[in-house]
């Protein structure tokens, strides 16, 4: 059985999105992928907890797709976590529904990669900034995968980086759905760098 991938996409002004929307729309076309636009589904933030929990049960790979806002997710993804990852469902004495699932963040960041360094403007690396999400994954028993990130997102389109970025992500999606894909091995690597090698292999 193939792995089923759930993409929870959050962009509060999706009509202005240059990176995440193309990525999301491309993902919608892939088999074994359920792609949810959270801001479209819950324009007034009234999240249907039962529906969201059932979605989590039905999928093996959980993916947050978003632009980095103040070193974190957009508000609705935080709301989603607060409401859906309930005691007794995601954690706690009987809360084991997420155990064994994989968790990945697919995000875009405005700053260049060099800004996300101890010596850079943002003083922390991206994996460091995402530690709350990493720990959420740990506590709920999910395998945390390194983020698939696009730096310098404001000019990525003009720089011609967008199409490669989308293509590489689609390749990863294809890999994720393979039943024997080794997620644990992936935890060691920088996903972006790995993607480039991967694309080199696939495209002549």
């Amino acid at each position: 059985m193939s792995n089923r991938v759930l993409i929870l996409y959050a962009h509060p002004s999706t009509h202005r999105s240059e990176i995440n929307r193309p990525l999301f729309e491309a993902s919608c076309q892939v088999n074994h992928v359920t792609a949810v636009d959270l801001y479209a589904e819950y324009p007034s933030f009234r999240i249907d907890i039962d529906l969201e929990q059932q979605r989590l049960r039905d999928h093996d790979v959980i993916c947050f797709m978003f632009p980095l806002y103040w070193y974190s997710t957009p508000a609705i993804l935080k709301e989603w976590q607060d409401l859906v990852l309930e005691y007794g469902f995601a954690y706690g004495a009987d809360g084991r529904e997420l155990t064994g699932k994989k968790f990945i963040c697919v995000l875009s960041a405005g700053g260049a990669e060099s800004a996300y360094q101890a010596s850079g403007l943002n003083r922390f690396t991206l994996p460091e900034l995402l530690q709350p999400l990493e720990q959420t994954a740990n506590l709920t028993g999910m395998t945390y995968l390194p983020p698939y990130a696009l730096f310098g997102a404001r000019t990525a389109k003009e720089d011609g980086k967008l199409s490669d970025h989308v293509l590489e992500w689609l390749l990863w999606l294809g890999e994720f759905s393979k039943p024997d894909f080794n997620f644990d091995a992936l935890r060691q690597y920088d996903l972006l760098k790995l993607a480039r090698d991967h694309v080199m292999e696939v495209t002549p």
Partner: protein, 634 residues
Amino acid sequence: MTGYLLHAFVYLCAAVIAVPIAKRLGLGSVLGYLVAGVVIGPVLGFVGQETATIQHFAEFGVVMMLFLVGLELEPKMLWAMKHRLLGLGGLQVTLSTLVFSGCALYWGIAWQTAVAIGLLLSLSSTAIVLQTFNEKGLSKTDGGRSSFSVLLFQDIAVIPMLAVIPLLAIPELLETSQQVAQDSHGDSLSLVAHLTGWHYALVVVGAIAAIIASGRFLSRHLFHFIAASGLREVFTAAALMLVIGVATLMGLIGLSPALGTFLAGVVLANSDFRHELEANVEPFKGLLLGLFFITVGAGIQFSVLVDEFAIVIGITLAVISIKAAILFVLALIFKVRSSDGWLLALSLSQAGEFGFVLINFTVGNHVLPPEYAQILSLVVALSMFLTPGLFILYDRLILPRYQQQSNAAEQDVPDSQGQVIIAGVGRFGQIVNRLLVANDIPTVVLDAQAGQVDLLRNINIKSYFGDATRPELLETVGIDEASLFVVAIDNKIQAVELVTYLKHAHPHLKILARAFDRGHSYELEQAGADVIISETYYSALAAGEKALSLSGIHPFRAQHLAQSFVEIEQSHHQELYESWQQGQVNGETFARYREIFKQLQAALDEGMEGDRLDGHSDSERGWTPPPKGYIDKL
């Protein structure tokens, strides 16, 4: 009397049989009418003698069509097309006249006659072309607009032609054509026959000014007065009166009635009553135009066709190819590109109904010998007959080639949004409209109360007077291009009927309906509305939420309680709806419905107050802390 009825029956019968068949075969209604005419005329001989008389009557269809065309064209648009109107139209008429006159001269025809032949063959058929454009939805294409400019120029050019042709009279023809002159198209009723040129010009200018002034300033009050009566047939009568009045006025001062009504249409194009007028005139136009095409078919003289077969066919094909070639070259010069250039060339390559008028007129004025007239009439009729074939050629051969190209090129462009039609702009529909318009979504707004339309006009919201439950009116406001229909009319029963009709006739439309109360919302749902908003539900809910917070409940919690209320209601919706339906079918006194409504109330009470076993409350899932001491069990 019975004779007239019999003829009417034969004509209508032929149309009713032939046109649907032609449509089904993809040939367009015009060809259907033409064939119907041929069958009842030359083939079966049911009709024939009276076609000339009926044709004069049926030409009124062309007059009405130009009125409708005028209604679609605001003066601004007309001004914007002036280059094509004068350039493209002017060159087409001039070049065609020169070439055809030249050919006639070459064949040894007297120069006066040659000029007349050139003039009458340079005209195209407004009736066939515009009707076909409408049917095929080509009016808004570049080719359609260019064709329209040319047709408009031709219709205007008829006036100077009618002035020039009498000067070409050939004395030898005078005696031979005496009797034909009696039958000519020229009206005997004229107010201006005795006037000198200078006075005549004054009269013409005065008449046109009168049309513009009364269209601008008087028509509104007249239509308001009629609309207030609420009698639909009086509005129809007024619309007909307007068209016939203007046409008569034009006839009396010797101008083209079609041109006059076109002008009246343009003047009224900005009116709030525009779509209602259109809807009223449209059916008459359709019938009369149909009649006109039938008479063209019925008027084909088979005996002449058989005798002069080679000549008639030869001239017809020559006319079509020469005009198409001239138009194609002009299309290149005027940058009417790709498929649009072909459309222009093919659609206008026939001779037109004004050709018949001019033939009669030239014979009457001793310019054209009657034997030529017979052949030319056939040429004009046959070229009109062949036009639908050219459109088929365009559809099947030319369009597909260009479509593939343009599809490949325009893949990145997102589909443009269809417009939204809003029926009823009282206190409810108005807000919907304002939100849409503020966000640049095109709307067409209809209201059956002229006063309401006025109110909106005062705050610069464009809306039209009209009863949205009339299918003809919906056609004229462009329901085929609409993607969403908002039903916000006050009459509950009409609203349900409108939704039923829309779902039936335009299944592609999304329908958003405003419901008066719960029962009405179920009726609208049954009728097929996609989204139903009960008019007071959400405002009452907002009031309830405010009441909660004024009672001391934290505003954020009050909002969530209100939302839970909605959700619990929605979860019981299907059940309630079905029991309502059963009540409808069985004629029960809603006993069961009332029972279920009570259950809903109980569910609400429970859902809003009761806590779940695990300590979570339904109404505020989330933000509830885990149980005390949970950390020890982690």
